[in-house]
């Protein structure tokens, strides 16, 4: 493996452009992904702010954007969902932190294919530019939701934004798929081929396992979405009928014939469900890493954690039909999908159990990364437990396409994943930028965000139980929905406060980048390989030395050891490798 690492070595870059713009260094590329996702998350969050305000004041005219019409609201929710899922939840955990830390944590000098790595970032960037462009074309952004169900998304006359805006939306997703496929290949090859001597698979940090499994999911899922998107583009522009039967829109009989709207749903969710795990697995990895580090205890059940993630990845491809219980799909297959969905709850429960087991009888240190890791566990539990409601077709009859679902997925794949990213940011910031972030502001940011998050998303469950339908621009036209308005008002106020608190994070981030106290090489007294190298790491990560690994990734509190932690490169401890 050392030889393959040498073969991949390349000289340090000279000049600003090669060093910071078109860099081949996985660390620079990781930071580029991070800032792309940071930009995207603020765009996505701003859109959600407009939506929340519109929901409680449908006729208000807002500064900058003017009056929000029903179709504008639908464009906002489409773009919010798409930008958040692709350019935040997929981009930051994998492209950002994975890119930066996977090679270092396995003791490699770089990714296996540095040029491909650069290409996948810049392809993602182009995808982002294309989707933002959809706002500015005639008709504006599409209104078909992030799931883009045809025929609504396949017929230009079906609504405003379904013209050029929808084409740009699909094109952007297709570009993103290409970028993710390149990234996935790189992650897989790097993990399999470039581990340092002694870094067996079962000594890899759980973060590496999570990025590795995420890459497998990405490789299998994005290809399907890419094909589905191309078919949709053809239906829209070349007159094919993959997804569109004979229909009449706006009094006009369309020329399509014989297509199946359900085909899109199958293809989309075949991607869409694994995508949920693409978003959350890296968060699970980083939470495990941080819980163990700050509990000063080995992770509880390392092997069970690995097998649980593999099981989640495996089952993740067999449950897509649970998004389609109400779609007109065969009720027999709903039965099978429902059973498999319940099975996927089992490894998730194992993970939660093991996180609690890690904290049991520990010596917990409460720096900000740990607060966010604990927050992740709490949100993962809360979001996860609404799953078994939705997984039962008989309950889904009432809950499908209500705010219950919106609350469920926001808690578990939205904010839990975001908490994973916050945890990762506070944890790895010292290594990435050589300085510490401010702890006091970190704590304030954490508590406001945690309480705010629950205040926004918990009431959505009550709203959904009462039959509160989602994707409604106004709750004024249906009498029973009108009565639920106070819940919307509460959620909007909570959202405004929570969104405002995110500026604490951004200010802390940029202030600390330049003014924070200098970080030592291993400020958290952690054990994995990124903490043996300099801060920030040199171009080849380990300054010409190739690390040799002797220990598992989470050797804390080893009886008889000189310190309460044993680095992976330290002389072997008796129990190493379990």
């Amino acid at each position: 493996m050392a030889t393959s690492a040498t073969a991949h070595a390349h000289a340090g870059p000279q000049g600003f452009i090669r060093k910071y713009i078109f860099s081949l260094d996985h660390k620079v590329i990781g930071i580029q992904y991070f800032f792309l996702a940071l930009t995207a998350v603020f765009v996505g969050m701003f859109l959600s702010l407009l939506m929340r305000i519109h929901l409680i004041a449908p006729l208000a005219s807002l500064p900058l954007v003017g009056e929000i019409k029903p179709e504008t609201y639908l464009s906002l929710l489409t773009m919010h969902g798409t930008i958040m899922v692709f350019f935040v939840l997929t981009t930051a955990p994998q492209g950002g932190f994975g890119n930066y830390f996977l090679p270092i944590q396995i003791g490699a000098p770089d990714m296996a294919f540095p040029v491909l790595n650069m290409l996948s970032f810049w392809t993602t960037f182009v995808g982002f530019v294309v989707i933002i462009a959809a706002f500015f074309v005639q008709g504006g952004a599409p209104l078909h939701g992030w799931t883009g169900y045809p025929p609504l998304s396949a017929v230009q006359s079906a609504g405003p934004g379904e013209g050029l805006g929808a084409d740009l939306w699909i094109t952007s997703i297709a570009i993103f798929c290409l970028a993710s496929l390149m990234g996935a290949l790189n992650f897989l090859t790097t993990t399999l081929d470039m581990r340092a001597k002694g870094m067996t698979m079962m000594r890899m940090p759980l973060t590496v396992w999570s990025w590795f499994i995420t890459a497998i999911l990405g490789l299998l899922a994005f290809g399907v979405l890419l094909s589905a998107g191309i078919l949709l583009l053809m239906d829209r522009n070349l007159g094919t009928s993959f997804y569109v039967p004979q229909i009449i829109v706006n009094g006009q009989i369309m020329l399509h014939k014989g297509g199946s709207p359900l085909l899109w749903q199958h293809l989309f969710w075949f991607f869409g469900h694994p995508e949920v795990y693409i978003a959350i697995l890296p968060g699970m990895g980083v939470t495990s890493q941080i819980l163990s580090t700050f509990s000063r205890k080995p992770i509880f059940g390392y092997k069970a954690m690995v097998y649980a993630m593999l099981a989640i990845g495996f089952f993740g491809f067999m449950v897509w039909g649970h998004h389609m219980f109400m779609s007109g799909m065969s009720p027999y297959s709903a039965f099978a999908f429902s059973l498999l969905t319940m099975c996927i709850g089992v490894p998730s429960a194992i993970k939660t159990f093991n996180w609690l087991g890690t904290m049991y009888k520990a010596r917990i240190r409460f720096q900000t990364p740990m607060l966010y890791a604990i927050g992740f566990v709490s949100l993962f539990v809360s979001g996860g437990l609404s799953g078994p409601f939705l997984a039962q077709p008989v309950l889904d009859i009432q809950l499908h396409d209500t705010y219950f679902v919106v609350g469920h997925f926001h808690l578990i794949m939205g904010v839990a994943a975001i908490f994973g990213m916050f945890a990762a940011t506070y944890y790895w910031f010292p290594k990435m930028f050589g300085r510490m972030m401010n702890e006091s502001w970190g704590r304030i940011h954490f508590f406001i965000t945690l309480i705010g998050t629950y205040a926004i998303f918990m009431p959505m469950h009550y709203l959904g139980m009462a039959g509160g339908t989602r994707r409604y621009s106004q709750y004024t036209e249906v009498a029973y929905l009108q009565k639920l308005m106070p819940i919307h008002q509460f959620m909007t106020y909570a959202a405004i406060i929570t969104i405002a608190a995110q500026f604490i994070f951004v200010i802390n981030l940029f202030w600390s980048m330049f003014k924070g106290p200098k970080a030592s090489d291993n400020p958290w007294e952690a054990t994995t390989l990124e903490w043996i190298t300099a801060t920030p790491p040199p171009h080849d990560n380990f300054g010409g030395v190739t690390p040799v690994v002797h220990n598992g990734p989470y050797e804390y509190g080893v009886p008889g050891a000189a310190r309460d932690f044993v680095m992976q490169t330290d002389p072997p401890v008796a129990s190493s490798g379990h």
Partner: protein, 267 residues
Amino acid sequence: MGLALLVVIWLITLASTYFFVAKSWLPVGASAAAGFMDGQFHLTLIIMGVVFLAAQLSLGYFAWRYREQPSSPPVAYSHGNVKLEVIWTALTTILFVGLNLMGSSVWAAQRFEPAGPGAVQVEVTGMQFAWYFRYPGPDGKFGGTSIKLMDPSAGGEAAVGLDTSDPASKDDVVTGTMYLPVDREVDVSLRSVDVIHSFFVPNLRFKQDAVPGLNIHLHFKPTAVGEYEIACAELCGLGHYKMHGMVHVVSQEDFDKWLAAREAEKQ
């Protein structure tokens, strides 16, 4: 900091739980399946609620109890416990799969079997942004429809494209409000002419997507006289939020009268 976490996590947990149980959020049920479905919902709520409380309260407690102090004992150096993992896994599997199997009988009854003979037949058609309801009339047979005859802007029979040259369509009644007799099974056939809609009647615990190109048959039985709102539950375009309708569940007698009056209007 451990104490702050404990307080915040416990407060969030208890407040969330309070609002789940303090109010019965589900709309009043008015169909034969509602009793079972609500029972299954509440059973799931109780089980998940117990897990929720147990997990969140221990998370908060552990954060406080095992915070690092000068007096803390050394950590328990352990890589886990296989026996505990196996027990935990087995219990979760039994619980989740068991819940699922329990709920499947009503699903099967509603969707595996066709409606019984004597059910009231209603065809529900969704279009941007209205619902239309068609009754077959005394002959019990729906007349033909054709997309070529559809004129959604005209409403009524023209909106669903009724082929008036078909003898079976002579007595078909098309309305914008759904009337149903109480305590009789309803055989719904659901279709859409343009994009996907979803026919959702919260009080009847009924929801099904209307998909262009498909004619989906389902059945349910309203059990309480009343007026119930229909809300479209699948994003169908800019008017999705106002794609609203009403179901009037009335006595058999009132239903017959209503239908006869519609027939008379038609002649």
